[in-house]
């Protein structure tokens, strides 16, 4: 494992200068005997947009629910801002959650939904326990008992502006569209000024166009508010678009942590490569540093740190392959099928060894003899996976 990581690890340690906000240490969770999380370690920094990415059942939602205080871990620790919060109840946590199905209160209008958290704070501040406590401390000083109605109205108004729902205060939440409900849910969570916002597949129920719009809006909100976002999704495109850091999970274990560029261009194993986008994954042998062999040929590459003649997986992204004249290609083959995908064509090229998938904007007729070209940096060499199935 460490061998493949050497160059990247160095690069990342330079970036890590921000303050850690959340440290997850050895987090394990069992449900009725089945292990959902297997000793997860992760550090999340201030103002980061972190995405937990993986298929359903990989433990990403469980992680989020533990962070939100909805579940208690079987073992392991969560350290928040230097304090351990593992067993603190969710109503005392400085986190807020945007739920998958929004979970807006149907008996309250938009204003009251967003003001919910503030009203609770107001109530707690003006409650008799708090009054008594303050009175005993400083009997002669008039104390401020939380938010006035004007402050609440002002804050709600600001939140509605942030999520582009100005003028919707009195609307019933059940009369809103999915996208609008989503915005209310975000506003309701953000009004409490949490240090961390947890988002559980919040865009899953929206249609494609709206989902893409909301991706940019969420990113904007995160940048504007400076709040750490922890976002759970199974959609790799969502993860790549918004995240500062992607955590790819599988069966309760972290596979890779890195920037979107990192995980896309330098997937650590076949699983990550396949999950994060379409790929040509080829069995190869690392002859020595910067030289890999596959399909019976030797190619220059930019990877190093493997043992000589180690068996490896080589990833070539479809968009990194160019179709050229047979004489100019590094590999030659025949166009097997052409599918129009809108922005690009997906062309399968059959060589003597395998079929390569190519994404290109230029069409080639089926049956044509072509060459395939790529640059040394387009080859991503990964350690072979040892477990069965993907």
């Amino acid at each position: 494992m460490s061998l493949t990581q050497t160059p990247r690890k160095l690069a990342k340690s330079v970036k890590k200068e921000r303050r850690p906000l959340i440290e997850i240490q050895g987090l394990t969770k069992e449900f009725d005997g089945s292990v959902v999380l297997k000793g997860m370690d992760l550090t999340i920094y201030e103002n980061e947009f972190v995405t937990l990415l993986g298929p359903s059942g990989c433990g990403k939602t469980t992680t989020l629910r533990i962070l939100g205080g909805f579940e208690e871990p079987t073992s392991g620790k969560i350290i928040f801002d230097g304090k351990e919060i593992t067993t603190i109840r969710n109503y005392d946590l400085p986190t807020n959650t945007v739920f998958q199905r929004y979970a807006l209160f149907p008996h309250l209008n938009v204003f009251e939904n967003i003001a919910f958290g503030l009203r609770i704070k107001q109530k707690n501040a003006t409650g008799w326990r708090n009054r008594l406590k303050k009175l005993l401390k400083r009997p002669n000083v008039a104390v401020d008992f939380g938010f006035t109605e004007e402050i609440i109205a002002g804050k709600v108004k600001r939140m509605l502006k942030l999520v582009n729902l100005e003028g919707y205060e009195q609307r019933s939440v059940t009369s809103l569209s999915g996208g609008q409900q989503q915005r209310v849910a975000i506003a309701r969570a953000l009004i409490n000024e949490p240090k961390v916002l947890l988002l559980d597949e919040p865009l899953g129920a929206l249609d494609l166009k709206l989902r893409q719009e909301m991706q940019y809006e969420l990113k904007d909100i995160q940048i504007n508010t400076g709040i750490t976002f922890i976002f759970v999704t199974h959609d790799q495109e969502e993860a790549l678009t918004m995240s500062d850091k992607i955590v790819i999970m599988k069966e309760g274990e972290i596979q890779q942590v890195g920037t979107p560029e990192d995980v896309y261009n330098e997937p650590i194993n076949e699983y990550v490569a396949k999950f994060i986008g379409e790929s040509n994954i080829i069995d190869g042998t690392m002859l020595r540093d910067y030289l890999v062999s596959f399909d019976g040929q030797e190619f220059e590459c930019v990877d190093r740190g493997f043992s000589d003649n180690e068996a490896v997986d080589v990833v070539i992204r479809p968009e990194d392959l160019d179709i050229v004249e047979p004489s100019e290609g590094l590999i030659t083959g025949v166009v097997d099928s052409v599918i129009f995908k809108g922005v690009h064509f997906e062309i399968d090229v059959k060589t003597s060894e395998r079929i390569y998938t190519v994404h290109t904007t230029d069409q080639s007729p089926e049956g044509k003899k072509v060459g395939l070209r790529f640059n040394p940096e387009d080859l991503h060499v990964m350690e072979k996976m040892t477990y069965a199935g993907v």
């Binding site: 109503y91 199905r101 979970a103 807006l104 008996h107 009369s175």
Partner: protein, 302 residues
């Protein structure tokens, strides 16, 4: 031949068209419409007719008038009985709510297996004939009954419980409690647990979550529970008959008496109608509190 066709074709065209309209899916409503017509609409119409018929002294002459109503309102005892009926019904309903809500809440929050057992326990008394249960209560509260026997051990002198309202209220609660539990339980069970999590996530303690989210959202269940307890307790006949002495007769007994003993159908019908209107007003009043029902309807329309 060509001359016949144009005449036959339009006829055939029309008929199946009309028939499809009636005989399709709507046919399924026929049993309900029949029941509605013969068991609800016609009887109510008959009661209304009787109520407005004036005693003309002759069977051949029918005169309509408000006599029966005037007679009812003009008799203070009747108003007192009506008031007592409504008061006892309200007390029983409130006790049912106070007992039933926690039970429903606790049930809805337990595991599936416990839920089944708890609902079974709540509804089990309904399997036993109501008359039998009421009579059992009478055995307990009777002057020579078991309660007095037990109290007698401690030297308490014999108490005539049946002269008080307590046995009737206890009887009403014991008979109609399941009708309060079931609708509340149903609505609490349907409640989206993510709403509770959301409330907690926003800082609400469990108690605050209950009063700000769970309770307001369970109001429709409470209202149907209230309706289902208030209506039968206000009109109950058997319970006061067995569980109170005559001086605590309720409106149901009054109606029965008019029909059975006096043969005064018109007067009995008038009392029924007054009672019906008062209960309808109560239910209408209760539903005004249900702001959420409106919201839910709006949501359902989308």
């Amino acid at each position: 031949m060509p001359e016949f066709n144009p005449k036959i074709v339009p006829l055939r065209h029309k008929r199946p068209h009309r028939r499809i309209k009636i005989s399709g899916f709507e046919l399924l409503a026929l049993p309900y419409v029949t029941v509605l017509l013969f068991l609800i609409f016609l009887p109510v119409l008959m009661i209304a007719l009787y109520a407005f018929i004036k005693d003309s002294g002759s069977t051949n002459l029918i005169i309509f008038g408000f006599d029966n109503f005037i007679r009812f309102i003009g008799t203070p005892e009747n108003i007192v009985t009506l008031g007592r009926s409504l008061r006892l019904a309200l007390i029983a309903t409130i006790i049912c709510l106070l007992l039933g809500y926690p039970y429903a809440y606790f049930t809805a929050g337990s595991s599936n297996k416990s839920q089944r057992i708890l609902i079974l326990l709540a509804t089990a008394p309904m399997w036993i004939n109501m008359l039998l249960r009421v009579y059992a209560w009478r055995q307990i509260f009777d002057a020579s009954g078991s309660l007095n026997a037990i109290l007698g051990i401690f030297g308490v002198p014999e108490i005539d419980f049946l002269a008080t309202e307590i046995p009737a209220i206890i009887g009403m609660v014991s008979v109609y409690l399941p009708f309060m539990i079931l609708p509340i339980y149903t609505i609490l069970r349907k409640l989206d647990s993510s709403l509770i999590e959301a409330s907690s996530d926003l800082g609400a303690r469990p108690q605050q979550t209950f009063w700000r989210v769970i309770f307001p959202l369970s109001i429709p269940g409470i209202l149907s529970g209230i309706t289902m307890v208030l209506l039968p307790t206000a009109t109950t006949l058997v319970i006061p008959e067995y569980l109170s002495k005559n001086n605590y007769a309720l409106i149901g007994n009054l109606i029965e008496m008019k029909f059975k003993n006096n043969g005064d159908w018109g007067y009995g019908s008038a009392i029924s109608i007054v009672l019906g209107i008062v209960i309808m007003a109560l239910v209408f009043f209760a539903n005004r509190f249900d702001r959420f029902a409106e919201v839910e309807e709006k949501g359902a329309k989308r």
